[in-house]
Symmetry: C2
Subunit: 483 residues, 2 copies
């Protein structure tokens, strides 16, 4: 095969036809299964990738989770269906153990679709435009229609830094924080990181100046009509006012007419209705499947994603892909003849989006049982082409980096310090090495928490390469440890 490719490259170099060439002769060798206890890791990683790219059931499983079950908001019937489906999938895999770990989770419901309309002002009646809006997760409703003036502020820090006198202007009104994500960041996660506190905590700042409601621009770099939801958190003892996000197109429009109104010294009113409500907590589950280690079963490596999702799309990239990739890690490791030296546990966490109670419960039980979690690997940045791993410990980063030559043929070039993930994070307190899969970030926030986070936007090979990357690192840690 290598020879064929070489002669083909020579062919193109000598002619000028519309052909496309390979960078490297990455021909798949025939990996022969071996009973040797420690087979050549280079061959094992090649085998993992071959088995991911040909004949994997994971993409069809993702389709079922997204299309047949759909969105899986914490506490919902669909979340329960997802628990049962994933348990069935794990049960069918001949693992050493499959079980559900009970956990109480928040239950917030959106209710009927939101309504938001600009209704102009006394002088001008032309701006009667319906805007695309979504309640933020955890928000209270408006209790019927809220009709009041809408005012803009450039950023959360501007709002925080208002003098008492200025703050009066915002009392009784709807506050709209116009701040967009900064497109100049190369990694879109950094642009999100610079703005997500607006969504999580902005509502409290608005409540403190006496606003009736809080609006923000959706956290995405794409201009379109899809609003993006996501968690917000009320401060203890603070006033709970409704909070929502506008699609970027609606936000651009609103910003424009508010600027115009300000110049003309007029005002604009808005009608806003959110029908969401906070219900009592519900019993739900983390779904867990385990391959016990052949030599050091007490040393555990957790791989996981979160099974719950927001309700607007199908929770495809966030985080159906992470769940099915984690299950696929087990399948790919099972394909290696020898059992892993250490225990590999796949955990599908419940309620990441609504406060990560599943993650906290998993870590609590692990500590209670005095389990030895040496490492945890999470996929919750989308099912895009993997580029490497984020290792949340600069002191132990080199342990993972020493395997980079093995990862390079799979274009996993980036092994750097970074955040592991929300669901594995509580394990960190006991010294577990936390690692996040780092996929290409360009398209993630197009879909994140929006109606477009659907199965069709997940590319099969990109998704499977992510699973193979996770399986490769998991195999290395399970076989060679992380000392």
């Amino acid at each position: 095969m290598k020879k064929n490719i070489l002669s083909f490259v020579l062919l193109i170099l000598s002619s000028n036809f519309a052909l496309f060439s390979c960078t490297t002769a990455d021909a798949p060798p025939n990996y022969n299964k071996t009973k040797t206890e420690t087979p050549d890791p280079e061959l094992v990683l090649r085998s993992i990738h071959d088995n991911a790219l040909i004949g994997s059931p994971a993409y069809a499983q993702l389709r079922y989770l997204c299309k047949d079950i759909g969105p899986r908001l914490s506490g919902s019937d669909n979340a329960q269906k997802a628990v049962e489906y994933m348990q069935r999938v794990l049960d069918s895999m001949n693992l050493d153990s499959v079980y559900l770990q009970p956990v109480m989770v928040p239950h917030w419901e959106r209710g009927e679709k939101e309504f938001c309309q600009v209704i102009g002002n006394e002088n001008e009646k032309i701006n009667q435009k319906v805007l695309d809006i979504t309640a933020l997760g955890g928000s209270v409703g408006t209790n019927g229609k809220l009709k009041t003036q809408i005012v803009a502020v450039n950023s959360l820090s501007d709002l925080e830094n208002l003098s008492k006198k200025e703050a009066k202007k915002y009392k009784g009104k709807i506050i709209f924080v116009t701040q967009p994500m900064d497109a100049r960041f190369i990694n879109t996660g950094s642009a999100y990181g610079g703005c997500s506190s607006i969504r999580v905590f902005g509502v409290n700042t608005a409540a403190k100046v006496g606003a009736k409601a809080f609006l923000m621009r959706s956290l995405t770099l794409k201009n379109d009509n899809h609003p993006h939801t996501g968690i917000m958190i009320y401060e203890k003892g603070g006033k709970k006012i409704p909070a929502a996000a506008l699609s970027t197109n609606s936000a651009n429009y609103l910003e424009k007419i508010l600027n115009k109104a300000q110049k003309e010294n007029t005002s604009i009113e808005m009608e806003l209705q959110l029908n969401c409500e906070i219900l009592p907590d519900v019993l739900s589950y983390n779904v867990i499947g385990e391959l016990r280690g052949r030599e050091k079963p007490e040393e555990i490596i957790t791989v996981g994603g979160h099974l719950d999702s927001w309700d607007l799309g199908e929770g495809a990239h966030d985080d159906g892909t992470g769940c099915l990739q984690s299950v696929e890690v087990l399948r790919l490791i099972q394909k290696i003849e020898t059992k892993p030296k250490r225990t590999i546990r796949c955990v599908l966490f419940m309620s990441e989006e609504n406060g990560a109670s599943g993650a906290k419960e998993y870590a609590r039980v692990a500590k209670e049982k005095n389990e030895n979690h040496i490492a945890a690997l999470e996929s919750d940045s989308g099912g895009f082409t993997p580029r490497g791993f984020r290792v949340q410990d600069s002191a132990r980063l080199a342990i993972i980096q020493k395997w980079q030559p093995l990862f390079k043929p799979y274009n996993l070039h980036k092994v750097e310090f970074g955040f592991g993930g929300v669901d594995i994070n509580p394990l960190g307190a006991s010294g577990t090495l936390l690692i996040g899969l780092e996929p290409d970030s360009q398209r993630y926030f197009d879909h994140h928490h929006a109606a477009t986070d659907v199965f069709e936007n997940v590319h099969e090979r990109e998704f499977l390469l992510g699973a193979a990357a996770m399986a490769s690192l998991t195999y290395m840690m399970a076989e060679y440890g992380i000392e």
Copy 2:
């Protein structure tokens, strides 16, 4: 900003909410334009990326090329419209020179849409299924409806290695080479490279055994209903038989029923009609725009893509993105206060798909004028997130690799030996260093030469990051040379 991100990271580490974090604090510094002759390259590259990611006209220009002009088959009216549009774009940019370079190009027309139907056999009439098919570029037509038996062969080499006796079985029939691209390659270009000779030369092997027509499976890793076209070349003096590609779904179906028929010792007939024809060559143009070097204007760096495309889609990834990225390189370089030390020339090549006559003419004229082309950079692998560069000279690879620390913040990790590109290739004979932009390859062959190669499948940021990567490398070569 950096401080904000840091405190935000600390925030997530201490709480467990549904947030997403950054890998590296890649905060954009405020790049101050400077009149220093050699500004800090780190700041220049940051500035190039800032200007690409905010306020670039390139994506709107790509939209015009794709949606308002559309497919631009060599020799077609649309190709001429594209020449005129791109000349207007370059004319508006205040360059040192903009001109058209005349070149005669092939003119092949598809004619009316092809037809292909399986018509069962004497015993069985149930298989009357219409298949998705496209003529290969350069093929002759069937001259009305061709009706004959269809027979499968597993690979081109199987067909080549037939004994004389076996070959008789194929005489007078339509030969279908079933070979698929090998999904196990990580870089899809390698999988394509292993199969593209089937498309380019397979027809000749089929003609030699006396086949009436040649069919192949579309060169893509995706199973869908979109057939993929592409060039084929008749051997001099050989018989010209019609050649076409089936969509992968149609190919899978046909392979299945042919296997069944073989087991049952029956045969299957097919009706095939291709209406294409080869017309006389047409006068067309390479479109060229140039920024003259401030110190070494005689040293030229060519950046380019090809302006022609296949007719099934809009030539978005192949290669509208390469063209507009190359134009964007000039714009981004112009944004740097100092003019480039060496000359940068953007070349939009004509007729890459149909034999690369534009590329050959450009190299011929360069040689005739005794021009000194030190390097050439091509983008013809799609407008996806850039991952690095392919350098077509292992001896000079280190010259480019020494700049890798500057490229790393932009996730350009891969600078390896590889093919530069079809259009710059003829320059190689004079010692020009040939370099290809290497984007992520996973989605390229989903769209390559198919009806889905449309503007909507190009992601704005991915495309612009490619342009910024090209501008970064071009700037370094123009400023520091390649010695």
